[in-house]
Amino acid sequence: MSLLDYFKSSKPSSASLAKERLQILVAHERASRNQPSYLPKLQQELLAVIRKYVNVEQDAISVNFEQDDNQEVLELNIVLPDDANKK
């Protein structure tokens, strides 16, 4: 290691940190912006239906919407409780 390297900071610059954070955040926010507006309501209603039969937690259901060039995928994820909590 040369003397010059010693003085050069190995920390990334704050600007590159800013760019990295923004790229992740903006990508995330754009993805949720393109989601259909019925998703939150769909999630609520599905939860209500499922709760008629199974006693699941409020946050046990997640609805994800993904879009790529030629298809849209609606992904439903429901975590069922242990046997003890079943009705």
Binding site: S13, S14, A15, S16, A18, K19, R21, L22, Q23, L25, V26, E29, R30, R33
Partner: protein, 270 residues
């Protein structure tokens, strides 16, 4: 038909009013009849930046409510006879602006003016929504700073979905990036996002970079749009922006640090 430009950003304090004043004056100076409208109802400030605060008699809301005619409310600029200012109202009534009212005024102005510059308030509430609703072009003013870039991206989403053009399925609003308060020196040191960084994130057409400059505060102190300070780099940058918007091929400046000679160091440029 007039071309309606909205100057927007989402975040406050990035230079929307400074930009509105500068580009409206720039367009007017090029011989295009231009109106500049302050949409920040309750927090009127464009009049101060334009230096016509003592000539305000009627305002935007007066015209919407039929209490004054457009002709009575428009303030003719004393420096350029092609430029007119429509000040915002100082009312605290949040619902003073209506879509119908704004639409009617813009339609009337369109008959007479070539360009209508809408100075949007910060935020995403009624004033900001109405400022961009009827726009043909959007100047998105952004500072090279995380909060501003994020809010600009959010604004882009709103421009793409909540505008008249979007609702009626017409051609989308043309969006331009105006990067202001830029410091090439800090970019070089890695302390500030560069033009390329911001463009990578927002992917917008760059209309111009306005360097951080003392002349902006000096101009607002005296109520002169900074574009009239032809010696200053900010003034020149805004003149470039106007020329580029009008289709002239002007190379970008103020992106890299200027190399000052001994002379320049002795007599620091403004």
């Amino acid at each position: 038909m007039a071309r309606i430009i909205v100057v927007t950003s989402g975040k406050g304090g990035v230079g929307k009013t400074t930009t509105s004043a500068a580009i409206a004056m720039g367009l007017a100076k090029k011989g295009h009849k231009t109106a500049v409208i302050d949409f920040d109802v309750g927090l009127r400030n464009l009049d101060l930046i334009m230096g016509c605060e003592r000539r305000v008699v009627y305002d935007f809301v007066n015209v919407i409510n039929g209490e004054a005619t457009l002709r009575q409310a428009l303030i003719k600029d004393k420096r350029c006879n092609q430029l007119f200012i429509l000040p915002a109202s100082q009312t605290r009534d949040k619902d003073a602006l209506t879509k119908e009212g704004v639409g009617k005024i813009l339609e009337e102005l369109s008959k007479e003016f070539k360009y209508i510059v809408c100075d949007s308030p910060a935020g995403i509430e009624r004033g900001a929504n109405l400022a961009m609703y009827f726009a043909d072009d959007a100047f998105v003013v952004t500072n090279p700073e995380v909060a501003s870039v994020r809010d600009s991206d959010r604004m882009l989403g709103i421009l793409a979905s909540k505008s008249r053009r979007a609702e009626q399925g017409e051609e989308a609003i043309t969006e331009y990036l105006l990067l202001s308060r830029y410091s090439p020196k800090r970019v070089k040191l890695g302390e500030m996002l560069s033009v390329e960084d911001v463009q990578d994130i927002l992917s917008l057409h760059l209309l111009g970079v306005i360097p951080e400059s003392k002349s902006v505060l000096n101009a607002s102190n005296s109520g002169t749009p900074v574009i009239l300070d032809e010696e200053s780099n900010a003034g020149q940058a805004y003149a470039d922006v106007v020329a580029r918007y009008l289709g002239e091929d002007v190379p970008h400046r103020f992106i890299n640090e200027e190399k000052k000679g001994l002379f320049g160091k002795l007599f620091r440029s403004r």
